[in-house]
């Protein structure tokens, strides 16, 4: 993979929105994933979690700045967090319309279980280059920013890798 692969990171927003920020940070710190140039972060958000979008954008900006990376643009689609078809179809439509020429990467960590399942299905459909999951060894860390989580306790797992 070239170091200038423009990419869109697709994930969802759940009750603990910091997860989105932590996932993005782990992408920037990971030996392989850091080579992606994440230009966009596309979020599936419920009516309850849309209010987090602006704040997530600000946090992503801070994280990107800290790591000296390009600040990604945040885009979102409102979805029903418990309807797999709704989540999958709306995110898929947005990806096809706007991000067809980018490398697509999907993270299934955040959000409801239907969101994770829909994201996995989406990843297959849109030929995602990576499917990832941010693994935590203790629930104590669920609501902490990555800066406060010792590295032993969290790592990003590449579930699928398109060669």
């Amino acid at each position: 993979m070239s170091s200038d692969s423009n990419a869109v990171l697709i994930t969802c927003v759940g009750a603990t929105p910091i997860v989105v920020v932590n996932v993005y940070a782990h992408y920037l710190m990971h030996d392989e994933l850091r080579r992606l140039r994440i230009k966009y972060v596309l979020l599936g958000a419920s009516s309850n979690t849309i209010r987090f979008i602006d704040s997530i954008g600000r946090c992503l900006r801070e994280v990107a700045t800290y790591f000296g990376r390009e600040v990604p643009e945040v885009d979102y689609v409102e979805v029903d967090p418990f309807d797999i078809y709704d989540i999958w179809s709306k995110l898929r439509k947005r990806v096809v319309e706007r991000y067809g020429d980018l490398v697509r990467v999907v993270d299934v960590t955040a959000g409801t279980k239907p969101m994770s399942i829909a994201l996995y299905k989406l990843a297959t459909d849109i030929d995602a280059k990576y499917v990832t999951y941010l693994s935590l060894r203790s629930r104590e860390f669920e609501n902490l920013p990555f800066t406060d989580i010792p590295k032993y306790y969290s790592n990003i797992v590449i579930l699928e890798r398109k060669v």
Binding site: S55, N143, T147, K151, Y152
Partner: protein, 345 residues
């Protein structure tokens, strides 16, 4: 470059240090070297002093527990209540055991729960008043004021129970500080005992030790008091079996303990976590110089009691000297910023 950090910044500092390297060294003021390394999910502390080595191994989650819970003044009151009830039951069940006098040193009151602990202790003392005649709180003035206010607001003192405040005995968690403080501590206790002539004191139950570091200090203090005054002192340890085993190894002596069976595991974790994190943090606070592969900075501790008091913003500074110090500063800033967002959203 000076970075002023708050108590809530200590977790990202430790996290950062461990992300820079799995092992870093602290050159302490007494010319000993403390090597902190990460092994699995435990922190291993190895200390070299005068050609001898000592070590202990701590769970890494302590800092997290501390960060999550230490900022509140009234944590886990129900857990504490249960824990102490069990604790006292087990203590009284021991043949010949008694608590004629109980001294809470500020060390024992630091553990993130001083107000809850003190309030509950008084209610326990009330119910056991035939056997517990006097409670002494040896705490700093700024804690005392809060404590008195809280006690009167929430838990009026029983008339028959004597509650006294005395000057802090000056116990410190840091091992090498105890050498400096020991004389003052013994003098403080001497005054205390003289002031309590009405009691036929032959035995003192001193404080509630939490964690190996604290317990070893109490143990040493006990020996010194016994030698100085001929008074038997029973240090009490509330901790896990694992820590007790380590403490036994460390001290080479059997230790009377309250076992995890007698303390609910979730409470035990809390006590253990706070105790061990204080051990770690005190090492950090008392450190003069910190070195790692690409980082060197000097930590300037404020008075430890102020630094660790949950009511105040600690005056702890880090003077960054060389290396990638700027990253640490920015890391702390980023952590603060993200946490601000978390609390506001």
């Amino acid at each position: 470059m000076i970075i002023r950090i708050r108590s809530s910044d200590l977790l990202p500092v430790v996290t950062y240090l461990l992300s820079v390297s799995d092992e870093f060294e602290i050159s302490c003021g007494d010319e000993s070297i403390l090597r902190i390394s990460l092994s699995g999910q435990r922190l291993r502390l190895v200390r070299s002093r005068g050609g001898t080595w000592s070590w202990c191994s701590l769970p890494l989650d302590v800092a997290v527990w501390w960060s999550l819970h230490f900022s509140g003044e009234d944590i886990a009151f129900a857990d504490l209540k249960y824990s102490f009830a069990k604790f006292l039951e087990s203590l009284y069940a021991l043949p010949g055991s008694r608590l004629p006098i109980v001294v809470f040193d500020e060390t024992a009151l630091w553990y993130g729960c001083c107000h809850s602990l003190a309030r509950y202790w008084l209610s326990v003392a009330h119910s056991f008043r035939a056997r517990i005649q006097t409670t002494y709180f040896a705490i700093p003035d700024h804690v005392k004021e809060n404590l008195v206010r809280l006690l009167h607001e929430h838990n009026p003192l029983p008339d028959e129970l004597q509650v006294n405040f005395i000057k802090s005995l000056g116990l410190r968690v840091s091992e090498y500080l105890i050498d400096v403080e020991l004389a003052r501590t013994i003098l403080g206790l001497h005054d205390l005992l003289n002031a309590s002539k009405v009691l036929p004191i032959t035995e003192v139950t001193l404080g509630i030790g939490v964690g190996i570091g604290v317990f070893s200090l109490y143990f040493r203090l006990s020996r010194a008091i016994r030698a100085q005054f001929g008074i038997g002192v029973t240090p009490i340890l509330i901790t896990s079996r694992e820590d007790v085993a380590s403490a036994s190894d460390l001290l080479g002596l059997p230790i009377q303990l309250v076992t995890p069976k007698q303390i609910p595991s979730e409470v035990d974790i809390g006590f253990k976590s706070v105790g061990t994190v204080l051990t770690v943090l005190t090492y950090l606070l008392s450190a003069i110089k910190v070195r790692s592969r690409d980082l060197e900075f000097v930590m300037v501790p404020g008075p430890i009691s102020r630094s660790l008091d949950c009511c105040s913003d600690p005056p702890l500074s880090i003077i960054v000297k060389t290396g990638s110090s700027d990253y640490l500063s920015r890391w702390i800033k980023l952590s603060r910023s993200l946490k601000n967002w978390l609390t506001s959203s």
